[in-house]
């Protein structure tokens, strides 16, 4: 689930990076304020991007305070705060916790079980603040698991379920729901494409089981295209350089890297 919404650092200007930091640090600080130090360790690019997009959809300028960062030798950092930060912190905890549960049922991971115990209190607090959202996400993940267990050969079905998860998360702003749905589909199918070869090799479920690797590029580019169409419909008041970067480049980084690695291995074996 996590790890596909990246920012392409090769082409972000310094001012965009500073802006990005202020959101990343803002979310980090909010997580600590609401859930304690341990909540900082689950932060990643993915929820930071959620924070940036939801803030960018608000007309009012976000409030920024300054805090010291223990992970950067106590240096002062500008941190965006406010209601959106609080919501994103809650969502980060909910999604991370439910992701651990998903990992446990997938491959009985001991690490995931330990992490689940570690974050249980935080999850209970976050889901009490958003009971409907938490229930929707957990139901959708359950449906997703059923489809995967049944070996669903139509990749759209599980992708749409995952899309619904992100749609409910992004519906914090009513204009962002459709974009969330398209992004969810893009993330799910990118994950499936990246895992395709190893899943086939280890006989694990993959949504693209009835497809060939050569078709995946075309399918993914179509999915990114649909995601970009929804993205362009959003009226963003700030951070456009960052969000453009993520949508048009960042989201493909992992898949692109894997393709190039595969290409290099293939060249070497000839």
């Amino acid at each position: 689930m996590f790890g596909y919404v990246n920012v392409d650092l090769r082409c972000l200007s310094d001012s965009a990076i500073k802006q990005y930091k202020s959101y990343y640090c803002g979310l980090c600080h909010q997580l600590r304020r609401q859930y304690g130090e341990r909540a900082r360790w689950i932060l990643s690019f993915d929820p930071a991007f959620l924070f940036i997009i939801l803030s960018a959809l608000e007309r009012e300028q976000p409030v920024c305070d300054v805090n010291r960062c223990p992970y950067h030798f106590g240096s002062k950092r500008p941190c965006v705060c406010g209601d959106t930060a609080r919501y994103c912190a809650d969502v980060t905890v909910i999604l991370t916790y439910l992701n651990f549960e998903d990992d446990i049922s997938d491959d009985r991971s001991h690490r995931a079980a330990a992490m689940r115990r570690f974050y249980r209190r935080a999850y209970e607090k976050a889901s009490a603040a958003h009971p409907r959202l938490s229930r929707k996400i957990s139901d959708a993940l359950h449906r997703l698991e059923l489809e995967e267990r049944a070996g669903q050969t139509n990749p759209d079905i599980p992708a749409n379920i995952f899309g619904q998860i992100l749609q409910s998360v992004f519906e914090y702003n009513e204009k962002a729901g459709r974009f969330g749905y398209a992004l969810g589909r893009a993330i799910y199918l990118t994950d499936a494409a990246c895992d395709f070869k190893s899943d086939l090799k280890h006989r694990r479920y993959n949504p693209f089981v009835c497809f060939r690797m050569s078709q995946l590029d075309d399918i993914l580019s179509n999915v990114y295209g649909s995601c970009a169409v929804e993205y362009e419909k959003l009226e963003l008041y700030r951070s456009k350089e960052i969000t453009d970067n993520v949508i048009y480049s960042g989201i493909q980084l992992k898949y692109e890297l894997l393709k190039r690695l595969r290409g290099k291995r293939h060249d070497r074996s000839i």
């Binding site: 360790w41 749409n160 399918i219 179509n222 295209g225 649909s226 995601c227």
Partner: protein
């Protein structure tokens, strides 16, 4: 279980024409596009479609008339035509039901499947069918147009991508990924 004739508001000995007229009248009243967000209308629409299907299927068991879309002798519309009609009215579920029962996967079958799956929100499947339709009948302009419409985001995406992202070497890409996934990576 509700009586399908009652749902459509026709007597049991109604003719084929009367049933179809009643169905069309109800469709115009409860169509989802005319009643956006209305759950009662959506429920009613499903009931009406089910009733119409039941009466059509019941035609073969001697109910007194021949179903219009039975696909047997004397029917005026082929299954593909009726699937197309459902698609045009936005009733993709009914269209998909008809299409999956057709064994002959012609170019037109793929084309209609693409449209129905696209309406249903199954974009990957729709794209596969559209590509197959064009492959089977490359000269058909309608099929080309559908494929283009389904791929329109794709070409725009790549035009925009060239502006946003430079072509970088493998090493730079690898480093970008590593930095991106490190927690608190902005150490500048």
């Amino acid at each position: 279980m509700t009586d399908p004739y009652e749902v459509l508001g026709v007597p049991r000995d109604a003719s084929e024409d009367e049933i179809t007229k009643a169905y069309r009248k109800l469709v115009k009243k409860y169509h989802p596009d005319l009643n956006p967000g209305d759950e009662t209308a959506q429920r009613k629409m499903r009931e009406i479609n089910q009733a119409y299907d039941m009466i059509k299927k019941g035609a073969g068991s001697g109910a007194g008339y021949q179903g219009q879309y039975a696909g047997g002798s004397g029917s005026s519309a082929s299954p593909l035509d009726s699937a197309e009609a459902y698609i045009m009215s936005g009733m993709y579920e009914q269209a998909l039901y008809i299409l999956q029962n057709i064994q002959d996967h012609s170019a037109r079958w793929h084309y209609l499947s693409a449209m129905a799956f696209s309406q249903a929100g199954y974009a990957v499947t729709a794209l596969q069918h559209a590509q197959m339709a064009v492959r089977l009948e490359p000269s058909n302009a309608k099929y080309q147009a559908l494929l283009q419409r389904l791929s329109i985001g794709q070409s725009q995406y790549y035009q925009r991508r060239v502006v946003v992202s430079p072509a970088g070497g493998f090493a730079r890409l690898f480093i970008a990924i590593i930095l991106a996934r490190l927690c608190c990576c902005f150490c500048r």
